[in-house]
Symmetry: C2
Subunit: 189 residues, 2 copies
Amino acid sequence: MSGSDTQESGARSRTRRAILSAAASVLARERTATLADIAKAADVGRSTLHRYFPDREELVKAVVEDSLEVLHESLTAAALEDGPPLEAMRRLIGALVDVGDRLQFLFGDPRMLDGYESGAPGAGPQPAIELIERGQAQGVFDAEVSAAWIEHALWALVYTACKDAANGKLARHAITSTVIRTFENGILQ
Amino acid sequence: MSGSDTQESGARSRTRRAILSAAASVLARERTATLADIAKAADVGRSTLHRYFPDREELVKAVVEDSLEVLHESLTAAALEDGPPLEAMRRLIGALVDVGDRLQFLFGDPRMLDGYESGAPGAGPQPAIELIERGQAQGVFDAEVSAAWIEHALWALVYTACKDAANGKLARHAITSTVIRTFENGILQ
DNA sequence: GCAGTCTGGGTCACAAATGTCCCATAGATA
DNA sequence: TATCTATGGGACATTTGTGACCCAGACTGC
């Protein structure tokens, strides 16, 4: 545990995380959810929520940053710069699926990441681009399309698969393998 | 022009279509756009908008139905049941890209199509599923994954490519070919 | 027990979006 | 010209989300 926060009591830290987690979950499903809804989901009073996050903007910002951090940790753990690109890509897909809820929140609203994608101070998903370019340079990945497109296609497939799983249209254990299969080989036999 | 409507003057019909089109475009970009914003984009007064669509709910419903109709027409024109599955699939992709704006509106909000997808009276995108199943039966498309997944993967790629094009990250003329390439063959060389 | 902190619920005021109504005006039509 | 239709703009009340504030109760550490 031991949150990296400077001077926050255990209780405060726990409440804070509960709010962030609940907010990510609720906002992923319904972007226009009320602060009262979020407070309810986090099992705290609306006053308490306001005490931690003065206004909606700050709450959303905190959830975005927290989600980016979670995503970043998952990507770091995948060690994308190690080993053959294809294997690293499979680890990447697994890592993304693991944080599917956060992805659904971050990428569910195209405008959620305004101001983060390009000028972000370090947290951006640059590792994925680097991996893709490495694979392209080695002739493993399709170099006829841009690395950015491949990255976006990857987000799209993972996002869709997670959504399908959330709706019961895809078995949870099949998410990763399905995405890998289609992403690597397409739909042609 | 003789709109197919029963008894609506040319002016009313034109205004109605202008509002629907503007609403689809604005709501695709910003789902929480104000009715005033939509009226402004359609270049009509807010009163006029209310005259055509009593409340927001009815407007959104009308835009959904209109978009489904546009999509359906595009799919019909693609004659998906004719010719080899692979060629039909390429026509399908082209048809979807052509109505990218509407797709962005319809699929931008997962809850937009609540009540339409399964129980819709005829307008559903069944043709795509049928084409995919035909291709799978002929051994042309991957039969190891469900037809529903292939369909969703297709939506996702088209949607992403259209969004990239809207953001200037992908040349407009390259949308179709890029989607076809990745969707058919994946990213492996 | 006692002081301090955290919390939940309640109230209040404010701003924004919405829906309704009314009226003057421009354009088409007879 | 006279009439009818469609429109834009303004005024208005209502609703909803929001943010600020206060207060009583619960909990913790001394």
